[in-house]
Symmetry: C2
Subunit: 327 residues, 2 copies
């Protein structure tokens, strides 16, 4: 019997690919296989691994310690999360903030009934940013929390741009306001409007015959997505888009600014500068798979969030090693 | 019976004063009293509270949910920690890094025997910085962790300066190298010598007749404390020292830089800019008192560190509230 933590990957898009890369960076883990709804033989893996159909999962319940769900939050996870939590310990990155309580309940019941542990909504936001919002508020109860995103590629906003008539291709970057960040860092606890916190920048390839001004106007006035922001639209050719805008960088800042007494200000800042958003999210999922494996062995079952996981459970080091080397 | 968490403070120096201020910022807590080795009636409290002798503690075991130990790591805590963990749930800021494993054992046995929970070594380093070192390493296993301290007043180095013959008074600031930080932020994973990471700056009041050059030479060549650093010594008068150098600011940076694949770099940064080092440390102790109270009620006893405490336990919000509002 293997002493490594045996991981399965359900879904092989950007996240699944990132999870495969992250497993190879963790010596105490091994990849059992990639499970896809596509024909497994058609999957082109970044590194060699066993390829299976998702229909094979039920036959592999004894071979997998933790299954990492790499599907999307819109349609994949609401269906797969509850189903697979009845068979496996799971980790996912469900990120529709408003629906988290409902998703939590839907996963908690089957996981508890099966004695499994299901960690939902891991990643960086929700995930590491959420943890830092909680730490910040608890440590400085008299204070304000600010979250800034970017500079980074937003998938949702890029999709919105691409739906505009006349747009052949395009991407959108979210840009945090440096001025707003400096006010927050200075402990001024400013009130900031949506427009004052972030700007948006689009790089768009037009369809033949489309009009720049019409397309720009459609984008900048789009409700919810762009109308509350200052948005810049750049028109580029397909070649430029492919060479200069194919990476998926992202990141941001969670800043808590507060007072511990009338005269003393304190500022806590957590920031991420990510070369690849999906690869970092995947790394987080893999670290939480280690924690989930341990929690399940300790009898902690049902749905869990990053708020429920002690930091030491993420580390391959023992508690005694952590105390000696990391405290 | 009170529904608030009932806190006792053992020791009333800078930390004890900070804990008293922090309790007043947390609506779910109340201060039972301040316990001192000094004559309680001689204690001048920043805010009104009951004053007791430490000898009264044993009589108050039923009145206190968590006792926060505000003594020093050199002589107070090694003695008080094990003794008081046999009577109370405790939180302390034991910060002699090299002796933490030994201190942990000395507290763990009496706490376990008494069914009490003892959280050791809370604060920011050890404490929040330690947590971020563990998260960083777990999320980016192929990477390097860098800790920078400052700009801030170092108590230990200030004490060392004041022991130099000819020095009437003085303080020492630790200053992180901006150049080194920028290299780390850029994901270059540099090898940095002690001298390249921090500089030291001293403000010194001379005794009558003392020689500037002699004193400067004594300071900058002092083994361990200064000889491995570039140190600047400024001579000031007593008035300037009192007006410009009586605050206790501190802070620093924990940066993890790593690769999730050959082509992708990721950087995680946690930083603190603290107006008052002792007040922030105190705020951390108070938040962990809430966690200790909950852990003890859940049957988790013995010595604990910040690595063992799930983030959600620090928050006054319920787990369901946290999921709905903070994830």
């Amino acid at each position: 019997m293997s002493s490594k933590i045996r991981i399965g990957i359900a879904g092989y898009g950007n996240l699944g690919r990132g999870v495969q890369a992250a497993i190879s960076k963790n010596q105490d883990m091994e990849l059992v296989g990639v499970y896809s709804r596509r024909d497994p033989q058609s999957l082109e893996l970044a590194q060699p691994a066993a390829r299976y159909s998702v229909d094979d999962l039920a036959k592999h319940v004894d071979d997998i310690d933790v299954l990492i769900l790499c599907g999307g939050s819109k349609s994949d996870l609401p269906e797969q999360g509850p189903q697979l939590a009845a068979l496996f310990n799971t980790v996912d990155s469900f990120d529709t903030h408003a629906r988290i309580p409902e998703y939590y309940e839907s996963v908690d019941a089957p996981a508890k009934a099966a004695g499994k542990t299901a960690l939902i909504s891991a990643g960086w936001d929700p995930g590491m940013f959420s943890i830092n919002r909680v730490y910040g508020e608890a440590l400085l109860p008299d204070g304000e929390t600010y979250t800034f995103w970017g500079r980074g590629l937003s998938q949702g906003h890029s999709d919105a741009v691409r739906r505009v008539p006349g747009v052949a291709a395009g991407v959108q970057y979210t840009i945090p306001s440096q001025e707003a960040i400096e006010q927050v860092r200075a402990g001024l606890r400013p009130s900031l409007s949506t427009r004052e916190k972030h700007q948006r920048e689009c790089f768009v390839v037009l369809e033949n015959g489309a009009d720049e001004n019409n397309v720009r106007q459609e984008i900048v006035s789009m409700e919810h997505y762009f109308d509350q922001y200052d948005t810049t639209v750049h028109f580029v050719d397909a070649q430029t888009l492919a060479t200069e805008h194919s990476d998926m960088p992202h990141g941001g800042f969670v800043i808590r600014s507060g007072n511990t007494s009338d005269s003393q200000k304190q500022v806590i800042e957590y920031s991420l500068a990510l070369g690849s958003n999906p690869e970092f999210t995947s790394s987080v999922l893999v670290a939480y798979a280690r924690a989930v494996h341990r929690m399940n062995r300790a009898g902690i079952t049902g749905a869990q969030t990053v708020f429920d996981v002690a930091p030491g459970l993420l580390s391959p080091r023992s508690a005694a090693q952590l105390r000696a080397d990391m405290l």
